[in-house]
Symmetry: C2
DNA sequence: ATCAACAGTTCCGAATTTCCGAACTATGGA
DNA sequence: TCCATAGTTCGGAAATTCGGAACTGTTGAT
């Protein structure tokens, strides 16, 4: 297994962020991670309620999230610990993540007003 | 030629906005439109400096921008007048467009601090 | 040490999407 | 009417996405 790639903060591209978050499944995953109710493992995030994401697809989603700079993944024993890079990201792209999650009506702790 | 489709404000989906603006060429077009230095016609926006977008591709870009709700197009004689729907959009998704354009370092009248 | 179980990745083929040249359509002017 | 211009649609090659099956790496049990 080749080592997981994470871009340095300065190398994070807005187009990659927008692309990654233009898929509602990935948004759902990212939001759950940001909420951090789960342990941040992949399999804990597979269940979307209406559908269970196949694991190869899930692995792909995480790859996209990771390589866009949205998520940090590190192996911990047999499983993968994932966390968002929100704090860093907000430094590089102020307000971006918040505005996106708000648009999706998914900003944690903020009820949908829609 | 079938009539051009524009979504109603309430039907605009964040995923469509993000997808549309995850392509740097479309962002460049959108920024030029927002700046409105050009007349807003398609052909006036084809020249990106480093490359001229082929017209079928340009037409496709406008379709994506239009159907995502970012742009309003109306025929005026032989040409097409395009304008952004920024004001409406900011009502529906507060701060989103601004945050995205800032991330791209392309907010009109705002120099890149990068 | 070997084996089994499990989390996640990689491989690869089918289906979908993107890209763009060529053909086409609509409008206005000579 | 015929031509020029602005943009759309068509169609096929190339690239991307999706997901099942096979694989890898780690842990725990025997």
């Amino acid at each position: 297994m080749r080592p997981l790639f994470h871009p340095a903060l300065k190398d994070i591209k807005p187009e990659a962020i927008l692309y990654a978050l233009s898929d509602p499944e990935r948004v759902a995953i990212f939001v759950k991670l940001a909420g951090a109710n789960s342990g941040g493992t992949c399999s804990a995030l597979a269940d979307l309620g209406d559908r269970v994401i196949p694991k190869s697809s899930l692995s792909n989603h995480f790859k996209v999230l990771r390589e866009s700079g949205l998520v940090l993944s590190e192996r911990q024993g047999v499983e993968m610990r994932n966390q968002t890079r929100c704090t860093e990201l907000d430094e590089r792209f102020p307000g971006l993540i918040k505005a996106i999650l708000t648009a999706y009506g998914q900003l944690p702790g903020q009820p949908k007003t829609d």
